[in-house]
């Protein structure tokens, strides 16, 4: 088939190597040496120059002298995690000549600026990808990358971030309201993509089993839907992020006690999401707080935000009696949805059969699920509390522990009957290190990946492999059953 060969895509590591070998002129090397403080004789070998360039030598002074817009640009490159072309720097330099026709005419001045402000300071690498059939100009084929080695030295995205101690204001009512919908489904929003369901005692959110990760995904979905910050709009340059990804990146740069104002996000969103329909940071953050994805602090008219902490894991919960109590029969537990943390609900749902009766959620022990999780739950605080508090769970734990490990099912394994004793011994010798084990009654077991070598060994010894395949028939039977 005749292919449409495009230029080879360079990897980030190749870009630095190629730049040092081929792209830089003597004047560029000299300028980089001056900016980073390298000694000129050390730069005679490209490999040595590359090592020097990617070291942290002189980075502090260079980053210290960068303009704010340059720092945000480098953060964008860091967040994108892939090389970009010269068009991405239009937002930083604002030097694109829209009135000219060719790519080189439009972005020639942008490249000069990038070279002067970043490349010759030794903090940005670039290289030209090989020419393809698409006949792109050299400038169009150039790729720019911010090396990983520099990421740790990059100045903060928000130099004006405020340090405030304490957890801040969390909209717990939003999550609590969702949990209450379990027993009052009529209060649920009809547009909710993940309504509660209990199927054969299993708690499900939408199509998936309930866990805190599902709840976390749900609250982000609600944020995205209310603030309209998800998609990347068409017709905008390639090197961009969706507003949600830009916000995620921005919040990830904050230290544990740092908070930001919506206004501080404005230049970041302008650089990261260059759409015409700009995202309003005040509205986006307020919706984030309303959907319990962010926490906030208010002082006078000012509001600061940072991401809400993750839901607590059951191992960090100790007050089980506040939201779990024994039911009348003593076999199960009543769940208080006004007080239970999502991590606690996940833990109890994982080992129980749930049911709703009289507006109350009740959990009774499910031996099948307990069997799957017994070793991870038995010695935890939650496991001990259940054993001490609930007769039903205590008895179920004991039953499961007694039965566990008595029956073992092996899958992904090949079994063969070897009637020739010489062949059997030969196989065991050829595949030492327990890759083949002998079983009673002339049988051997070995992993599926060893099949071709075992077959070769058998054939090499003058025998043939007789195959009894139980797969095809069973698939047919299963399909018939499903029909």
């Amino acid at each position: 088939m005749r292919g449409t060969r495009k230029g080879k895509i360079l990897k980030e590591t190749e870009i630095a190597e190629k730049m040092c070998k081929e792209e830089l002129a003597a004047a560029d090397v000299k300028a980089i040496c001056k900016a980073r403080g390298f000694s000129i004789p050390d730069t005679r070998s490209p490999a040595l120059f590359e090592s020097l360039l990617l070291s942290d030598l002189g980075l502090q002074s260079v980053f210290g002298a960068l303009e704010r817009v340059e720092i945000i640009m480098l953060h964008l490159l860091k967040g994108l995690k892939k090389p970009v072309n010269i068009a991405a720097f239009e937002r930083m330099t604002e030097k694109r000549n829209n009135w000219r026709r060719t790519f080189n005419q439009q972005y020639g001045e942008v490249f000069k600026q990038v070279k002067k402000r970043l490349i010759r300071k030794g903090i940005l690498v670039f290289a030209t990808a090989p020419a393809g059939f698409d006949k792109k100009s050299q400038l169009e084929r150039q790729l720019f990358a911010f090396p990983d080695q520099f990421h740790g030295h990059l100045p903060p995205l928000f130099p004006s971030a405020k340090v405030l101690h304490g957890p801040g204001e969390y909209n717990d009512a939003f999550i609590r309201n969702k949990l209450r919908q379990l027993v009052h489904p009529q209060s649920a929003d009809t547009t909710d993509p993940s309504p509660w369901r209990i199927e054969e005692g299993e708690l499900r959110m939408g199509d998936a089993s309930f866990d805190v990760a599902a709840l976390h995904r749900w609250r982000r979905q609600r944020w995205v839907a209310s603030a309209k910050i998800s998609s990347v709009r068409e017709g905008v340059p390639e090197a961009r992020m969706s507003p949600l990804n830009a916000l995620d990146y921005a919040f990830a740069t904050l230290a544990p006690d740092e908070w930001i104002e919506p206004e501080a996000l404005r230049p970041v969103l302008k650089m990261f999401c260059p759409e015409k329909d700009k995202t309003n940071p005040e509205q986006a953050l307020r919706r984030g707080w309303e959907t319990a994805c962010l926490v906030r602090r208010r002082q006078g008219e000012k509001t600061w935000y940072r991401p809400a902490p993750l839901f607590r894991d059951v191992s960090k919960i100790s007050t089980f009696h506040e939201f779990l109590s024994e039911d009348k029969s003593g076999e199960g537990l009543r769940v208080n949805l006004d007080g239970i943390p999502p991590g606690g609900l996940e833990a109890i749902a994982r080992i129980s059969k749930l049911r709703i009766g009289g507006g109350v959620l009740t959990a009774s022990p499910d031996r099948v699920r307990i069997g799957r999780a017994i070793h991870t739950i038995r010695d935890t605080g939650f496991g001990r509390w259940l054993t001490e508090t609930s007769r039903g769970f205590s008895r179920a734990f004991a039953d499961v522990l007694q039965r566990w490990g008595r029956h073992v099912v092996h899958e992904n394994i090949l079994i063969a009957k070897v009637r020739d004793i010489g062949l059997k011994i030969g196989l065991e010798k050829a595949f030492k290190d327990s890759r083949i084990i002998s079983l009673p009654g002339d049988f051997i077991a070995f992993p599926e990946g060893l099949l071709s070598r075992v077959e070769a060994h058998v054939a090499g010894n003058g025998f043939a492999v007789k195959t009894i395949d139980r797969t095809a028939g069973e698939i047919g039977k299963r399909m018939a059953r499903n029909e």
Partner: protein, 569 residues
Amino acid sequence: MSKNNPAMELKTVDVSTMDICSCEFDPRKDLHVYVNYVREREVKRSVRENAIPKVDARRIVKQLSDPEALADIEENNRSPWLDFIDRLALDLGFVGYDTEGEYLGYTSSAPSFVDNYIDYNEQAYQRFLALSMQQQEQFLFDRQVDGYSEGDNEFFSRSICGRLDAFDSWGCATGVVPGIEFDKVRNFLFQCLADCRPGVWYETASLVAHLKRRHPYFLIPRSPSFKYRGDRAAGRYGNFYEKEKESYKRNIVSEKDRDAFERVEGRFVERFLENIPLTMGYVDLAYANPDNPGIRPSLGKIQAFKINDGFLPFMRGTLREPAVTVLPNHEIHVESQWYPAAMLTRIEPFADLVSTDRISILKLSRAKAVAYLAGEGAADLAKDLEALTGGPLPVNIAAELAEWAGQSESFVLYRGCGLVEGKNLPAFIKSYEVERLAADLRLVRTPDILFSELEQAEQIPVLVTHRANSLRRPQDGVKSIFNRKLKQKKKTGQKELIAIRQQTIVTLFFQDAGSLAVFTQALTENQCFVEIDKKRRTVAYAADQKPHIDAVIRQLKKKYRINLMKEKA
């Protein structure tokens, strides 16, 4: 000379002074060789000529019966015999490919054949192999007899095995030729040949004379139909021109000529004999010796013909099936008039083909037989062979086949199965059980479904999903044979190893491209291969190459001044 049967009074003839010709090729065998090649490989025909690529053609002709075919390929890029077999396989429907092509541009003068792969038609080929020998031969016969066109027939095309030239095909789409039903004519002539005795040389001229006397319109009807009204004036022989050897002048055969029948129908009979009958081995021919120059196309050159053994049984519908004999020395002899493709296809899975001829010889192979017996759905090989031979096998062969049947069971692999371990397994396990290895270890089908069922029965089973390349040891506390057999990895007290290889590279920096070129030239002359970077004007080499490089520098010093500055560490 003697009289033949009453139906045909043909003269017999002594051919001792003539040049005898029989077909040296075996089209039946070559057809199967070609089909088997196409079945096993993807063959894409050339775009311009729609021919089999030279690489494939070379491989195929090495197995064909034409000894000259390889030389033809090397000299002319194609072999006429391979082209014949290729076309025959297409006509029989065993393979398929585009023969019309497409014109790729306004200026194209010939069609192109883009991505024209030869497709193997499994169904048609297997259907053919399932036929009896008589039916197979009839199928081949019918396809060839029925295949003709106005330009492609005995008059205007040369035979693949013959020597005779053809009439000039100019104007063959007009006149009487489009109205001639060559299939009926050929069938009629084959019936005439079927009245002859095998092994007897008959005079061709007497056959022509017989046809002139008894069947003067066997080829061109008494009142021939003309495709175009204007051709009527040219008469029944208007399509056929004779030429003097060294002249461009064309003489039209006239109906009024006394020897017109011999000059047209007689020539046709000669060319008929050296087409299908000769190519398929039904007849041998005796040519006049030496060649008689004069009028073209040649006339009376085939002086005699002889019917071969297999032809008459075929025409009578009594062609025998191949006879199979198994000898005590492991040889299987297959005796057949013609190439027994179907029989060989049945025997080759458990025997090696030694030679093919009227008696094809195969040798029973232990490895092949064991693999055959181990194959899915393999029946009793001894019984199969007895059915083929129609009698009991030699005692030693029967004993060995029984032993080999046992060996085919030496390694039985179970796929799609798993194991279940445990005492007091529930009763429903029985429906999953394939083999019972021990009281507490069973080979089971669909282990994933069994696990779910055990879980639902609150048996709290443990599922061990083994890795692709190693067996996984179950958790501690699980009662399993695998825990005993698979040793736990011993933890070593050693620290993690970091392997490093050190190499010293010396780099020479040159001041200009000219001096680098001189140095590079000297290195090449001394067969010293090092890394040269022309862009950076450097030569880099490992420390162990230093003596070699130093020798080159010493050599250059005789002609140049060399200033080697060593940088301090």
